[in-house]
């Protein structure tokens, strides 16, 4: 929406930030995430492992929110699509011996293809029906992964070649962090363009959008395809990071985890989920490891938080932030939160 003239007045740093759709505060957060695993006490392997899990959930919640928060369709089979990407990549690497780095992208493509298909079949369906459709699609995929033993080894689990030879988690962390950034930059870039306006319009009022000349078919398919491609990419990482794939990873409860993070972070914000994921996953893992005599407590907190946010604060963390921190009086703080004024 900014004119090109305003853009050229920015200095290089701000221009890069603008290109990445990041505010200065976001950039600082990113830098912190980059150096975090290098400083004690975070440099322990199990803590880096948590960081990896958090970054994965963060990235997933961003691409999940790209569909749920904009065109208002909750993709309930999200993690099954992640799983499809993972399995495709893993099988290709296993059978044909190609590099995992290529496998990940082929996996993403296959997931994107499914997303395209899903976009077409859910075209006539609205709201809950589309969600149920995606849900069953996910269940069917999981069933297939369980039963096609010759291909996936079923519930025995498929061993997958890892991306790096070293047992350290650090390189994986940087890979997933980069993927998270890519996911965010792509989705944010798309939603900042005209297309984002079209997504929001068909999500909020289909009739008005259509009489304004927006073709819902096209935008829905584009949205699903993109979101699922990104999901497939993350699936590839999942496969080559954990080194083993079981059909259980495609389970609805995994989608619920992503959904909870995305909604607690704030629907339609994209960044909310990514920001919330890190402290959230850390807190959950802390609860799980320190209160191991109380199994499931962390997930109870999950459910409780989701319910509370849904009822009492439907905007989530992003809305909270917008309301209380987005307009500080201090110039420096204002710059940090909102970036350089471009208009």
């Amino acid at each position: 929406m900014q004119t090109t003239k305003a853009k050229s007045e920015l200095n290089l740093f701000d221009r890069v930030l603008d290109l990445l759709s990041l505010k200065p505060l976001g950039a600082i957060g990113l830098v912190i995430l980059v150096i975090l695993p290098l400083v004690p006490p975070f440099n322990q392997e199990y803590l880096i492992r948590w960081l990896c899990a958090a970054a994965l959930i963060a990235a997933a919640s961003v691409s999940f929110d790209f569909t749920a928060g904009f065109i208002n369709i909750v993709n309930f089979g999200y993690y099954a699509i992640v799983g499809l990407g993972g399995y495709t990549s893993a099988i290709l690497v296993d059978r044909f011996g190609i590099s995992p780095w290529i496998g990940i992208f082929v996996g993403a493509l296959s997931a994107g293809l499914l997303g395209f298909f899903l976009g077409i079949v859910t075209l006539r369906l609205r709201g809950i029906f589309a969600a149920v459709m995606a849900w069953f699609m996910g269940l069917a995929l999981m069933g297939l992964a369980t039963k096609a033993v010759w291909l996936t080894r079923g519930s025995l689990g498929l061993r997958v070649e890892r991306l790096f030879d070293s047992p350290s988690n650090l390189p994986y962390y940087y890979v997933i962090l980069a993927m998270m950034l890519v996911t965010y930059v792509i989705t944010k870039g798309v939603t900042r363009s005209d297309m984002g306006l079209a997504f929001k319009a068909i999500g909020q009022n289909m009739d008005a959008a259509r009489t304004s000349g927006i073709n819902p078919v096209y935008y829905r398919i584009v949205n699903f395809t993109l979101s699922c491609t990104l999901a497939g990419l993350l699936g590839g990482f999942y496969a080559h990071y954990y080194g083993i794939l079981t059909p259980e990873m495609m389970h609805t409860s995994k989608t619920v985890e992503v959904l909870a993070v995305a909604y607690i972070g704030g629907r339609g914000s994209l960044w909310g989920g990514a920001v919330v994921a890190f402290p959230f996953i850390y807190a959950m893992e802390m609860v799980r490891s320190s209160l191991s005599n109380l199994p499931g407590l962390n997930l109870i907190l999950y459910g409780l938080l989701l319910i509370l946010v849904m009822i009492y604060y439907s905007g989530g963390f992003a809305a909270f932030f917008q309301q209380h921190f987005s307009k500080p009086k201090n110039i420096i703080l204002y710059y940090l939160v909102n970036g350089k004024k471009t208009a």
Binding site: V121, F129, K147, V256, L294, G296, L299, I300, L306, M310
Partner: protein, 342 residues
């Protein structure tokens, strides 16, 4: 007169619903002839329990527009309650045998499960749906659906936290030799479970058709404003509906305890199956759900028979997706207004 009836019957059969039902019956009979009567017996026994689950689901959707994701969890609560009621009684019976009590014990457990399920239903309505309804009704179907997702997570892990993950099951409710029906041996438990489900569905039907409150529930599902106009207390009916629906799921869970031992996520399979049923039959269509339950049961049994166990999940799912694409209203049609628009 008779020709008129025949004509009407013919018209009904010619509709999509009629064709499907007739087809299902024909398939059931044919496969029983080729493979053995156990197919019909299995279908009927599975279908009865599935029907209990599905009518609860359909009811809540019809009356409150809530698409329950947590329905399986009430099944789980039912089985858990039955387990913790039945075990002490059985232990007591081991010490002091008593014929009358041993006959009553399963019934007491199932009744307890119904009450517990109903109680949890009331709690979820009072604590959760009521609050959401009060705060915002925009995008209600989707938001309430996500709330039930939260409830599901809560209950599953609550079970794990309090009772652990181990299987809590019993061998049988009723002692005695299995019955022999059509050359198939059917355990007493299965038989009684079926009889119980028929009984409960019958009672439920009677309640909905003949009592004042039952009529009020139906009225609310057909027109909320109209119901208020004739003096029906909406929130009371909503609480009652939730209690009934969850109680029915509880009964299903309790009476199948010998098949599905209670553990945290035991409700998932029944949940999926009952969702298949209501998508197949049309969301919110209670009578359709009963018929649909037997059809889904048949589909499941046939898939296991002809394709192999484990595929009983994939094949119905694929079919349901086709139904969603081509007939999102279900084959018996959805009674709920405005679902497609939301």
């Amino acid at each position: 007169m008779i020709t008129e009836y025949l004509k009407k019957l013919y018209e009904t059969i010619r509709s999509v619903a009629g064709i499907t039902v007739v087809l299902a019956i024909v398939v059931a009979i044919l496969s029983s002839i080729f493979r053995g009567p156990y197919i019909i017996v299995n279908t009927v026994v599975t279908g009865g329990m599935l029907a209990l689950m599905s009518i609860g689901l359909a009811l809540v959707f019809g009356v409150m527009n809530v698409a329950q994701f947590a329905h399986g969890e009430y099944f789980m609560i039912g089985s858990l309650t039955a387990y913790y009621t039945f075990i002490p009684i059985e232990r007591y019976l081991g010490a002091n045998p008593n014929a009358a009590l041993s006959f009553l014990a399963p019934l007491v457990s199932i009744l307890a499960a119904f009450c517990m399920g109903a109680l949890m239903g009331v709690l979820s309505e009072k604590l959760i749906f009521y609050n959401l309804r009060k705060r915002s009704r925009t995008n209600w179907v989707m938001n309430s659906f996500l709330l039930t997702v939260g409830i599901s997570v809560l209950l599953v892990n609550g079970h794990q936290l309090i009772f652990g993950t181990e299987l809590k099951g019993i061998v049988r409710y009723w002692t005695g030799r299995p019955f022999c029906i059509m050359d198939v041996f059917v355990s007493r438990d299965r038989c009684y479970a079926f009889i119980l489900s028929v009984l409960v569905i019958g009672l439920f039907w009677l309640f909905m058709k003949a009592t004042r409150t039952g009529r009020a529930i139906r009225a609310v599902s057909q027109d909320e404003t109209g119901a208020q106009m004739v003096g029906i207390d909406l929130s009371g009916i909503q609480v009652l509906t939730m209690a009934l629906s969850c109680g029915l799921a509880g009964i299903a869970g309790a009476s199948l305890l010998f098949m599905f031992p209670s553990y945290p996520s035991v409700g998932l399979d029944p949940l999926y199956m009952s969702w298949f049923v209501i998508i197949l039959a049309g969301m919110g269509n209670v009578l359709g759900a009963v018929v649909g339950a037997f059809m889904v049961a048949l589909l499941k049994v046939l898939t296991m028979e002809y394709i192999g166990s484990g595929w009983d999940f994939v094949v119905p799912t694929a079919l349901i997706m086709l139904i969603l694409i081509f007939k999102p209203n279900g084959i018996f049609g959805s009674d709920v207004r405005g679902v497609l628009e939301q």
